[in-house]
């Protein structure tokens, strides 16, 4: 029996498989398919302080081995989450990570301040990298200074661990990763979606009402894997890899590159049980290769 647990320093996960925010609803949507207790943890859909209307449709377009979305973080807000959803999630014995959003730095702080009063949350993931809420993908994760400011403010506000979710739409992600680390982030998650465009050639209009969207799915895996490897080589805090993970092999690539854990995203839509399958595939790989604890393979890329 392989020990799949991973130690992030500030918390231990029973296995390295988490779900990516925005692809797993508030967790409950998946309970017909997935025993949440079996996951390393789950990251629920991004929460602003108030409920959020979201973008007009069409919000989705499929591209080659990828999905471009422009949902615009439609959601229920912290109060409804705390009153209606969280009580139903507390019975699950696994890490619940809440993805936190804000229009301004102060809103991120207000969200964690409110949620700090609620029990049953393991950590926050700061969504400073959603490409779909402001014009042309503008977000704090695009510069080291804006990243530093929001992470610092949130860290001053909360007692819980903070994972900062970075954007791939930057020139040098290492610089931004180090800025988040310097501001006190406990971990990093790499990455959010890639700002993208798809065109209807008959009508000569964008296929999404929002014009741009964020690309996810297998198409982006090699791109994000590269960034994860670059960041783990320089940062001291743990990195969680996200992007195009459909199988245990995909997850292993991230772990070997140095990610301590992974988040499974788009795969949840196609196979709602893909997280459980990926955990089984990781276990099978370890057994076949005589690996007794999964931590043995983290960061073992030979270059």
């Amino acid at each position: 029996m392989t020990d799949l647990s991973v130690d992030l320093g500030f918390m231990t996960l029973k296995n390295p498989v988490l779900t990516a925010s925005g692809t797993f609803g508030y967790g409950l949507e998946f309970t017909p398919f997935v025993d949440l207790n079996k996951l390393g943890g789950y990251v629920v859909k991004g929460l602003y302080y108030d409920s959020r209307k979201g973008n007009p449709p069409p919000r989705l377009v499929e591209t080659a081995s990828g999905l471009i979305n422009a949902i615009g973080l439609q959601g229920i807000g912290v109060k409804k989450f705390a009153e209606e959803t969280l009580p139903r999630l507390r019975s699950y014995d696994t890490a619940l990570i809440v993805n936190v959003c804000g229009d301004e730095d102060e809103e991120y702080a207000a969200v964690v301040e409110y949620l700090d009063k609620q029990e049953g949350i393991s950590a926050y993931e700061l969504n400073i990298s959603c490409p779909n809420t402001k014009r042309e993908g503008l977000c704090p994760a695009l510069s080291p200074d804006t990243t530093h400011a929001v992470v610092k403010l949130v860290k001053q506000t909360t007692f819980r661990p903070v994972i900062t979710k970075l954007s791939p739409n930057v020139t040098d992600i290492v610089e931004i990763a180090l800025s988040a680390q310097e501001a006190g982030s406990d971990a990093l998650s790499l990455t959010n979606t890639y700002l993208a465009l798809a065109i209807d050639v008959e009508k000569r209009i964008p296929k999404l009402a929002n014009i741009f969207g964020g690309l996810s799915g297998p198409a982006i895996k090699p791109l994000t894997l590269r960034m994860v490897f670059q960041v783990v080589s320089r940062a001291q805090i743990p990195v969680i890899g996200i992007g195009g993970i459909m199988t245990g092999i995909d997850a292993l690539e991230y772990l070997i590159a140095g990610a301590k854990a992974v988040e499974v995203g788009t795969a949840n839509f196609i196979d709602p049980q893909s997280t459980l399958r990926i955990i089984r595939e990781l276990e099978a790989y370890c057994e076949t290769n005589g690996i007794s604890t999964i931590e043995e393979i983290i960061g073992t890329l030979k270059v």
Binding site: G22, T23, F24, G25, E29, F30, P32, F33, K45, K53, G54, P56, P57, P58, R59, L60, V61, E62, A64, S65, G66, L67, N69, I71, Q74, G217, P218, M246, T266, N268, F269, I270, D271, P272, Q273
Partner: protein, 265 residues
């Protein structure tokens, strides 16, 4: 809601542009209601990536049928599958038609345009079982858009057919034929699925005549079970209008709740 990774294709019918697949899935078949849908994975590979939504066209014993227009890569790949192949499906999903408005002994028009006829066959089956009198309005651009005509005829449904080009039946829109027949039928309610413009027109007719009407909407869907928030439409709830997930609260909505899209969209 069940995941059936190996649903056997037990029957396939192919027409010019359209396809019907009958899938063996006891659990999904036994729980399906008219207006609900299933998500079908068109390929085991990474392209095309997402499942495709299909309304349940009929339930036959332990099988469900889907009927679709070959319109893109997903539906084209599915139309190339053969009897004996297996498909990965999820279902039944969503909320279907409310049959309680269909009063026994009163005519119930089911108005379908093109591929929108798909869920209405199952609805007709169920209404008949409940003692209702479904009458089918089936419209298409041209005769080849009406591949299910014989199926409805064979089952002796009261059938009204229109084609835009007059190649068969009434020449013009199915909405015009429906309005012409309205007084004769004196229906207690109306159910419909098809192009936006057709359904919007029918919603107006239903409102003018003060009969309840339900419409099955369609959208690109990422997951089909409420997780991705990709399939929204503007829906009225009381005095509030908001983006509502079609997969979860629909795909069937009453005409009064739907905010119809603009003429040009």
């Amino acid at each position: 809601m069940h995941k059936e990774p190996d649903a056997l294709i037990v029957k396939k019918q192919d027409w010019d542009g359209y396809c019907l697949l009958r899938l063996k899935t006891e659990t999904i078949a036994s729980e399906s209601q008219p207006g609900q849908f299933i998500m079908v994975r068109p390929s085991e590979n990474l392209h095309p990536l997402l499942r495709r939504p299909f309304s349940i066209h009929s339930v036959q014993d332990d099988c469900v049928e889907i009927f679709f227009l070959k319109s893109g890569i997903g539906t084209t790949l599915l139309s190339q599958r053969s009897e004996g192949d297996r498909l990965d499906i999820l279902g039944p999903l969503g909320k279907g038609f409310h049959l309680e408005n269909a009063l026994p002994g009163r005519k119930v028009p089911l108005v379908g345009g093109g591929r929108g006829i798909a869920p209405l066959y199952f609805l007709a089956q169920r209404l008949r079982e409940l003692g209702g009198l479904p009458c089918i309005f089936y419209g298409g651009k041209t005769l080849s858009d009406l591949p299910l005509k014989q199926k409805f005829e064979k089952d002796h449904y009261e059938l009204y057919v229109s084609t835009d080009d007059g190649s068969f039946g009434f020449e013009g829109f199915i909405t015009d034929l429906f309005q012409r027949e309205f007084e004769n039928l004196s229906p207690s309610c109306l159910f419909s699925c098809g192009p936006e413009a057709m359904m919007r027109k029918l919603a107006l007719v239903a409102q003018e005549r003060s009969i309840p009407a339900e419409f099955s909407l369609e959208s690109i869907m990422g997951c089909g079970f409420g997780a991705c928030w990709g399939c929204v439409r503007m829906i009225k709830t009381g005095s509030k209008e908001e983006w509502v997930k079609i997969c979860e609260e629909g795909p069937v909505f009453t005409g009064k709740r739907i905010v119809w899209q603009d003429e040009e969209s």
